[in-house]
C-alpha cells in the first residue's frame, strides 16, 4: 500500500477557470468526441463481437469443465473460465452495451434498451441509477448514490458516524456480495423506511429485481447443477465461486474508479447552473484511471479509463486508451488534476483512504 504518496495536484476547483476557459475546454473535448463518432464503424463492431464470442466460449468451456471434468484441477480451470466469462460479459459487453455504445450498429443483440446481462442486477434498474443518476450527477454528495454505496464513508465531506469505525469490514462484505449491492441499489428500500417513497413506488422498483434474481439464481444454482446429476455439488460450488470472483473483481475496479485519493467530491451548491464545460471538468476530477496492459483494460471493461468513460459514456469503450493521452494533455493545459496510477497503487490508495475515513475527523482537518 502506498497511500502516503501525495495526490496529483488537485489544484483546480470550478471557479478557478473562467467561463471562457470552460467553454474552450468543452470545445476541445467535443472535438475528440466528434472525431471518434465520425470514425465509429466496422472496427468497433468487430471488437465487441469478438468479446461476445470470447465470453461465450469461456462460459461453454468453464461450464463443461465443471460438469464433465474428471481430471484433477478441472474444477479450478472450470471456475477460472467461468469467472472470466462472467467478468467479460458483465464489464466489457454488458456495462458498455447498456450505455448505448454499440446502438449505432443497429444490431438487436447489442441494443441498450433490450440487453440483459448475466448478473442479478436487472438491466432496467441499472439503466436508471447508473446511466442516469450516477453518470449525470457524478460525485455530487446526496445525488450520486454510488458514493460509497451507502456503506463506506469515502470523503471528509461526509458526516462521520460511529458505524464508520468498522467500515473496512462492511466494505469487505459489500465486495463479496457486490452483485447484490448493485442489484438492490436502485430499489431504495431505505427511502421507503424513511418515508421518502410510497409502497407503490417500492413495489414498482422491486418488480424487475425479483424477476431477475429468481431467474439468475435458478440458472446458476438449480438448472446447471441439476443437469450435472450426481456431480451437482461440484457445479453448484463452482458457479458460486465464479460469481464470487466476479463480485470481488468488479468491486475492486469500480472502487478504483471513484474513491482513490485525489478524486474530488462536489456539493449540490457547487454544481448549480453548471455549464457543459463545468460538467466535463467534474467528470474528469471525479474519476480515476488505472494503468496497465491492453488485456487488463478489457478485463476492466475499459473502466481502467474511468475518466474518459465519464466524459463520453456512449463512445465505444475500447477507444478510450486511444484518446486518453489527448484528454490528459487537455487536463494539463487547463491545470486540472488527472488521477491515474497503476493498479496496486490505486487500490492501495482506496483502502488507505477508507481506513483514514473510518476514524472521526480531527478538529484541524475539519476547517
Amino acid at each position: 500500500m502506498d497511500g502516503s504518496h501525495p495526490p496529483p495536484a488537485a489544484s483546480s476547483i470550478p471557479g478557478a477557470l473562467t467561463r471562457e476557459q470552460f467553454d474552450a475546454l468543452q470545445k476541445e473535448l467535443d472535438a475528440i468526441r466528434d472525431e471518434v463518432l465520425a470514425s465509429r464503424g466496422e472496427r468497433d463492431a468487430r471488437h465487441i463481437r469478438f468479446i461476445v464470442r470470447l465470453a461465450r466460449w469461456c462460459a461453454i468451456t468453464g461450464r463443461s469443465l465443471l460438469h464433465f471434468g474428471f481430471v484433477p484441477g478441472s474444477w479450478l480451470l472450470g471456475v477460472a473460465a467461468l469467472s472470466l466469462a462472467k467478468i467479460l460479459e458483465n464489464m466489457e459487453v454488458g456495462h458498455n452495451v447498456l450505455h448505448g455504445q454499440y446502438d449505432f450498429m443497429n444490431d438487436p443483440a447489442l441494443n441498450s434498451q433490450t440487453y440483459e446481462w448475466d448478473i442479478v442486477c436487472a438491466s432496467s434498474n441499472w439503466r436508471n441509477y447508473h446511466n442516469y443518476l450516477h453518470h449525470t450527477h457524478t460525485n455530487i454528495l446526496g445525488k450520486d448514490h454510488d458514493l460509497g454505496y451507502g456503506v463506506v464513508r469515502v470523503t471528509d465531506k461526509q458526516r462521520w458516524v460511529p458505524y464508520n469505525l468498522f467500515q473496512v469490514l462492511w466494505y469487505g462484505m459489500l465486495a463479496h456480495f457486490f452483485q447484490w449491492g448493485v442489484a438492490v441499489h436502485d430499489i431504495k428500500i431505505d427511502y421507503y423506511f424513511k418515508g421518502k417513497i410510497s409502497w407503490q413506488n417500492l413495489k414498482q422498483r422491486l418488480k424487475p429485481f425479483l424477476h431477475k434474481t429468481r431467474r439468475q439464481l435458478f440458472k446458476d444454482y438449480v438448472l446447471f447443477p441439476a443437469l450435472a446429476l450426481w456431480n451437482w455439488p461440484r457445479v453448484l460450488l463452482g458457479n458460486m465461486t465464479a460469481n464470487l470472483i466476479r463480485n470481488l473483481w468488479t468491486n475492486i475496479v469500480i472502487f478504483c474508479g471513484h474513491f482513490p485519493k485525489g478524486v474530488r467530491v462536489y456539493t449540490r451548491e457547487e454544481t448549480k447552473n453548471e455549464s457543459r464545460g463545468q460538467w466535463y471538468v467534474r467528470q474528469m476530477q471525479g474519476s480515476a484511471n488505472i494503468e496497465g496492459p491492453r488485456w487488463f483494460y478489457v478485463m476492466t471493461g475499459h473502466l481502467s479509463h474511468q475518466i474518459e468513460h465519464h466524459l463520453f459514456p456512449d463512445l465505444p469503450a475500447h477507444r478510450y486508451p486511444d484518446i486518453a493521452p489527448r484528454v490528459r494533455a487537455i487536463c494539463e493545459k487547463y491545470g486540472i488534476s488527472y488521477c491515474s496510477r497503476g493498479f496496486f497503487r490505486q487500490y492501495g490508495s482506496v483502502l488507505s483512504e477508507m481506513v483514514r475515513l473510518s476514524l472521526p475527523p480531527k478538529e484541524a482537518a475539519v476547517s
Binding site: 467535443d30 466528434d34 463518432l37 465509429r40 464503424g41 466496422e42 472496427r43 468497433d44 463492431a45 468487430r46 463481437r49 461476445v52 464470442r53 461465450r56 462460459a59 450505455h99 448505448g100 446502438d103 449505432f104 450498429m105 443497429n106 444490431d107 438487436p108 443483440a109 441494443n111 441498450s112 434498451q113 448475466d118 439503466r127 436508471n128 446511466n131 442516469y132 443518476l133 453518470h135 449525470t136 431467474r215 435458478f218 440458472k219 438448472l223 459514456p313 456512449d314
Partner: protein, 357 residues
C-alpha cells in the same frame, strides 16, 4: 439445417436461459455456416449481373426460412455496411418458383450510400438478411381480359416479375406495357422484354425516352395506348410520376390503377415550423417544433416517454425512429436512415416522423 417450426411459449420461457438465447444460438450456427439461423432469413449472393450502366441484378440464394413470394412483391434487405446494419426495400424481379432463389435489381441512386455500396462492394459469396416478402402489388388469380402495365425507371422490376411469372405459367393475356426510361441504353431488361414479346403476340411494348421525347405528359399515355380506359392498370415508378398518372386517371373517371411507390420524398421543415409526428405505440399524432427537443414536445402533447438526464447522457429516452429525419441538437448530426435509434431529449425533427413511442 436446424429449423424450429415455431418459437413456442415453452421455448421462450425465461427459465430455459441461456439455452434459448436466440442471438447466441444464431451466432454459433452462423460460425458453422453463414446461412444457418433459427429465425432469420439469410441469403447468399451467388451472382451479380450488370443490366445497364447504373443498374445491377443480384441473384440471392436464401436459407430454408424463405417462404416464397408472389410476383410483384418486395423485400427488405438488411446489409451490414461499415459495422452498421442498414435496411433497404427492393422489389423482387424474379418469378416465384425458382427454388430458394430470387433476383433483386438495383439502380444506383445518386449519392446513395447503400445502393452505392451494393454496386461497389456486394460480391458473390457475401450474405445479407431478408424480411419475409411483403406487399400486394400483384396480379389477381383470375386475370382481367386486358391489362396495362406502366413502369418508369426501376419501377420495371416488380412488373418484370409479373411478366416472367405469366410466361413461366404459360398464360398469355393481352398486355400493353409502357416502359419509361431516360434513353434506350437506360431501359432495364430491354432485350429480355423484346425477346419475351416476340414469342407473345398479345404483349406489346411501348417505350418512352424522356431524354429524347421530353417528360411524359400522362395524357400522352392515351395516345400510346388508345384503349387505356378499357384496361386494368398496374403502375410502378417514382413518386412524382405516379402522382401525375393517378391524377390523370382520376380526372378521366377511371378506376385507380394498382400502384407501388418507391418512397415519397420528405419535405424538410424550416426553423420555426411544426411537423407531424406519429407515435406508433401510443397510436397518436402530434406536432413538434423543428427547433425543440422531441422529448419536450412529446410531453407537451401529453405523452410520457421514459426520460432521465435530459441532456443526452443517460440514453433512457432512446427510441427507434421508423422513418423521417431528425437533427441532433448537440452535434448537429442528421439521422435520415430508417430504424435508427435516437435520443428524444437532444433530437429535433427535420421532417415528418414515425417513432416507436
Amino acid at each position: 439445417m436446424p429449423f424450429l417450426p415455431s418459437l413456442s411459449a415453452v421455448w421462450r420461457s425465461p427459465w430455459l436461459a441461456p439455452f434459448n438465447d436466440v442471438n447466441a444460438l444464431n451466432d454459433l450456427l452462423g460460425q458453422v455456416n453463414a446461412l444457418w439461423s433459427i429465425d432469420r432469413i439469410l441469403a447468399r449472393v451467388i451472382e451479380v449481373r450488370t443490366e445497364t450502366a447504373d443498374t445491377r441484378t443480384f441473384v440471392l440464394r436464401t436459407n430454408r426460412l424463405w417462404p416464397g413470394h408472389r410476383a410483384g412483391q418486395h423485400v427488405v434487405v438488411e446489409m451490414e455496411i461499415d459495422g452498421v446494419r442498414r435496411h433497404r426495400t427492393f422489389s423482387i424481379a424474379s418469378a416465384p418458383g425458382r427454388s430458394r432463389e430470387i433476383d433483386i435489381t438495383v439502380r444506383r441512386q445518386p449519392h446513395g450510400r447503400v445502393t452505392g455500396w451494393m454496386h461497389e462492394q456486394l460480391r458473390p459469396g457475401m450474405v445479407v438478411g431478408l424480411s419475409a416478402p411483403r406487399g400486394d402489388f400483384t396480379l389477381p388469380e383470375t386475370l382481367p381480359p386486358r391489362l396495362l402495365l406502366i413502369a418508369a425507371g426501376s419501377g420495371i422490376t416488380p412488373i418484370m416479375a409479373m411478366l416472367r411469372d405469366l410466361q413461366a405459367r404459360g398464360a398469355r393475356p393481352d398486355i400493353r406495357l409502357v416502359q419509361l426510361s431516360r434513353e434506350p441504353a437506360d431501359a432495364i431488361f430491354r432485350n429480355e422484354l423484346e425477346q419475351l414479346a416476340r414469342g407473345w403476340p398479345q404483349l406489346q411494348l411501348r417505350t418512352w425516352y424522356s431524354r429524347l421525347q421530353g417528360r411524359l405528359d400522362p395524357r400522352a399515355l392515351d395516345a400510346l395506348v388508345p384503349d387505356a380506359d378499357q384496361r386494368s392498370a398496374w403502375l410502378c415508378g417514382p413518386h412524382v410520376f405516379m402522382q401525375a398518372v393517378l391524377a390523370h386517371w382520376q380526372a378521366q373517371g377511371r378506376p385507380a390503377p394498382q400502384h407501388e411507390s418507391f418512397g415519397a420524398p420528405l419535405r424538410r421543415a424550416a426553423s420555426g415550423e411544426r411537423v407531424a409526428v406519429r407515435a406508433l405505440k401510443a397510436e397518436r399524432m402530434f406536432t413538434a417544433s423543428a427547433d425543440l427537443p422531441l422529448l419536450q414536445e412529446a410531453e407537451s402533447a401529453g405523452l410520457q416517454p421514459k426520460s432521465g438526464c435530459r441532456i443526452g447522457i443517460c440514453q433512457t429516452c432512446k427510441c427507434v425512429k421508423r422513418s423521417g429525419v431528425v437533427r441532433n441538437l448537440l452535434t448537429g448530426a442528421v439521422s435520415a436512415e430508417p430504424d435508427e435509434q435516437i435520443q428524444l431529449c437532444i433530437s429535433a425533427p427535420v421532417s415528418e416522423l414515425s417513432l416507436e413511442l
